[in-house]
Amino acid sequence: MSVVPAEVLQSSTRGVPEQARGEAELGPRTRLWPALGAVYRAQLSRARVARIPLLFVATFQSIGILIMMRGVVDGGSEAESVVAGSAVLVVAFVALNLLAQYFGQLRASGGLDHYATLPVPPAAVVLGAAAAYASFTVPGTVITAVFGCVLFGLPLTHLWVLAAVIPLAGAALSGLGAACGLLAPRPELATLLGQLGMSAALLLGVLPADRMPEAVRLARDLLPSTYGVEALARTFGAHPHWGYVLGDLAVCAGVGVASLAVATWAYRRAAVR
């Protein structure tokens, strides 16, 4: 079938011995930002094909929890933390749970080979996917927060703070999700870790902390999503303590940087075995 004999091609390069030519020119190295943009765009487009049903599930789950808690909580600070917890739960579901599953499956099926044989900085693959999953959470989180505020009669005035809460909590949780997915030796373990993380965010984030025993409160303090919940809950008051809000968001940002760094390291490790 091949119409070009190899001898013809060899004669065209004859007279230039391989050794004399030395190292051939390498293809360009892809820079971080364009690569990140390309990965982000590709991942975002996957929502249209694959992720829509689960994004609905994430939102409905949180709205269901709000309706359920309506009978238990009677306004005040408890209502604030329930609304904030449900809104951030959407982030935990998508960024932590679904991303852990995605990377777990990609690693197990050999899909990482595709990226590993392209000259892409590892950070671009991890950050692009994490950013896309954080973006998936935007509609669900906003809908849940608005619905919760209306249901519990909370002011919508400071909901703009979601513009900071979603990316920062998203960074922290998607970093954890990516790290879990890439470090887990088997895809089932990645799924398990993702589910456990989400369950923790559900139990520790949505239920008001004041009624919890000391040990659970400590666990709550260790979970990064808690700081997203706290930051959002504080803004429902008439005069929020903006210093504390910033502090909570800074914790999210710090965890985000650290966990994304770990995830990038885990990607590098998973890609070359």
């Binding site: 079938m1 070009v4 190292e23 487009s45 694959a50 590993a116």
Partner: protein
């Protein structure tokens, strides 16, 4: 352009655990030595588990060998595995990273990640999709396509962002003849215009014989032969292959047939014999006349293929190379 010396990789033994028996250490590639020349289509042929994929993973920088060296276009890939991605394009067997993208976006994204700027990535995407006849399905996600179409779309991503070396792991699996022809004419065009080199892992003996310039036959991690397909076949030129298919069972009451039994490889109703031309003529005369003919369903007489070469070289357990 690609020199491999003493490449060895051993998978460590796995200790038995509850419910899972242990496996001994496996030497997946054993002192492999290869030289691939610029502009040729070089094939790796071997049965499942021969070490083809392990070898390819080491050549593409996806796996570190235990010892040995890989040099591609003057670059030491063992020491700098990250350079492999800037020299070669790899088409693996898995498409999970691309499955949920449209054909068009998969090609464009891969081009971007191969370092093209947005405009060139789009231009090359359009050119490649057009060349392979994928334009009509450019807007469909890969996972909604048939196996052959998906494979062709993955092949398209390997072509966007030109590379001097293409490493293709069973590129035409599941493709219809039209798609297959599109693949080989795209490869030929790149060879003629740019001297692109192709390393092809294949299972398909017929394809191997028609497209490859040279082929290395792998068996249990070792290269047991390396030559042109014609050169390899010369090694068994003195033999022809006779296949006999019996209606129900072989007529062993015919003495000539009973005498052949020891020399035949039996597989159900099928007997495969490798014989000198003279002998083959006698066998065919015997089975097509007299009592044996009544029991005969079908027979074929063929010149040797790479499959026969593999068996003649003493391939593992004489179980055959692959199903052609």
């Amino acid at each position: 352009m690609c020199a491999v010396r003493g490449l060895t990789k051993t998978y460590p033994a796995v200790r038995a655990r509850r419910g899972a028996p242990g496996t001994p250490a496996v030497r997946a590639t054993d002192d492999v030595r290869l030289d691939i020349r610029r502009g040729e289509i070089f094939g790796l042929l071997g049965p499942n588990g021969a070490g083809k994929s392990t070898l390819v993973r080491q050549l593409t920088g996806l796996m570190r060998p235990d010892s040995g060296s890989v040099e591609i276009l003057g670059h030491d890939i063992v020491r700098h595995p990250e350079r492999a991605a800037r020299i070669l394009a790899y088409l693996g067997q898995e498409s999970t990273a691309l499955d949920e993208l449209t054909v068009s976006l998969a090609a464009e994204t891969t081009g971007r990640l191969r370092g093209l700027d947005a405009r060139r990535a789009r231009a090359e995407r359009d050119a490649v999709l057009d060349e392979l006849g994928l334009t009509p399905i450019a807007g469909r996600p890969l996972k909604k396509l048939s196996g052959g179409q998906r494979r062709l779309a993955c092949f398209a991503t390997a072509l966007v962002g030109e590379r001097p070396l293409l490493v293709l792991d069973e590129p035409t699996t599941g493709m219809d003849p039209v798609a297959r022809r599109a693949v080989w004419s795209a490869v030929d065009r790149r060879r003629a215009e740019r001297g692109t080199t192709v390393l092809l892992v294949t299972h398909n003996v017929i394809e191997a014989e028609t497209v490859l310039d040279r082929v290395a036959v792998l068996d249990q991690g070792r290269v047991i032969a390396c030559d042109t397909p014609a050169g390899l076949k010369e090694q068994v030129a003195g033999e022809v292959r006779v296949e006999l298919v019996w209606r129900e069972k072989a007529p062993l009451d015919v003495p000539e047939v009973a005498a052949l039994r020891d020399r035949a490889t039996e597989s159900g109703r099928r007997w495969t014999l490798r014989l000198a031309p003279e002998e083959a003529r006698t066998v065919v005369a015997t089975v097509t006349g007299g009592a044996a003919f009544a029991a005969l369903d079908d027979f074929t007489l063929a010149t040797p293929s790479l499959e026969d070469v593999y068996l003649a070289l003493g391939g593992a357990a004489r179980q055959g190379l692959v199903k052609a």
